[in-house]
Symmetry: C2
Subunit: 239 residues, 2 copies
């Protein structure tokens, strides 16, 4: 908490601690991060089977850490373990995806609400910078989708941090990772670029004006891709 407060003042991130933690990191943890990244980026497509032996060979470790990583990923819902039938990258059904988006919208809404009250001046500057960057990317003749995705991510992540609720930040970050592979498909649609920037604008202004409710609503609106009525309708289907 204290560290984070300092963060807000001097705008630096203490990478040393991360580095130190990395040293002490267990092989399984390390592997989990690798795989999680691969999955959330879409490198490992949903449905892909993960072979213990193969991964063990690839990463030059024994099966034990690989299994550890699998369990961890299963716990966070990114892979599915079927007893003695191997691990597969979890396929998220349309239903569950909508469910997750709904929760995501609520969590990010809370982030925005808290950020409106707690954001530091330094974080305000940074947020404006990121937004400006995003605008520039959008104005390019042929916007780079990957770059847009990346900077868009930065925008949202900064708001998580600005909520100054570490737990919320972690939860939201983790959930975003989990739906990352799918979200990318939606967020990156070219026609979404303009409206994304517009919506970010609204969120940002609300935060800058310390209008918690407006920030909450703007963020929720930004993330509510489908009408709530439609979601209700699909929820009745039951997959």
């Amino acid at each position: 908490m204290q560290n984070r407060a300092e963060d807000g003042l001097n705008c630096t991130i203490d990478e040393r601690i991360v580095g130190k933690e990395r040293e002490r990191e267990t092989l399984g943890e390390n592997l989990r991060r690798h795989l999680e990244r691969s999955i959330s980026v879409g490198e490992l497509a949903p449905g892909t089977r993960l072979d213990e032996k193969e991964l063990a060979a690839r990463y030059q470790v024994s099966r034990t850490p690989v299994r550890e990583a699998f369990r961890l990923l299963a716990a966070s819902g990114m892979v599915e373990l079927r007893g003695r039938q191997g691990a597969i990258v979890r396929e998220i059904g349309v239903n569950q995806l909508l469910e997750m988006f709904q929760v995501m919208a609520e969590l990010e809404g809370l982030c925005a609400r808290l950020a409106a009250r707690r954001i530091t001046t330094c974080q305000r500057q940074r947020l404006a910078e990121i937004h400006q960057h995003l605008v520039e990317i959008g104005e390019a003749p042929t916007p780079d989708p990957d770059l847009f995705y990346q900077v868009n991510l930065e925008f949202h992540e900064l708001i998580y941090t600005a909520s100054h609720n570490t737990f919320l930040e972690e939860q939201t970050h983790s959930l975003r990772n989990r739906v990352g592979a799918y979200r990318r498909q939606v967020t990156n649609l070219p026609q979404r670029i303009a409206s994304t920037i517009e919506e970010h604008e609204r969120v940002m202004q609300a935060i800058f004006q310390h209008d918690a409710e407006a920030a909450h609503n703007a963020m929720r609106g930004h993330l509510t891709l489908l009408g709530e009525d439609l979601i209700d309708f699909i929820a009745q289907f039951g997959r």
Copy 2:
């Protein structure tokens, strides 16, 4: 999902599937459930050191499944693994506890909002029954705190289910478990019983009237109060 839909109609829970899953459950998973329960109930107090060898002996398994369980619990934040220094039941600081309550309030608020729109008639009946039960417990000359805690849990859990968002249900349930050991101390305060029932009344009425916003606010209010009481409780401790 299909099962859940049927749930709504005939009010039964298919225990067979759970039983079947239990059979196929891995030892590590099983152990995780046991430990998680012990922790969330408060049987294993925060700060308690968990010894691999001892647990392996107690549960008549090798160290491997025990380690698996530890990793899983660490992933969900219930225990802390310090490299080669053993696992301890995580002590949740006051800060983080408040952070968690804030997220909890938001998630349960969403549950209530969705429940207001989606609750089935069967679930309405059940909710009313549970509430009535809670009232009766509260009216007893000397209310049983454990029973009150248990039935109170049922009330909230039913609302999670009535949201008809499985993912949200799981997330909220998991978070509640995580703060369970601390929450219990607060919820069980005798003077909270009356106001808890009153607040439940408001939440329930809003849900019955399909007033999503009112349900959301009532639930958030209900849990925010818990947070404030929590502050009082912790203040007594001094930590």
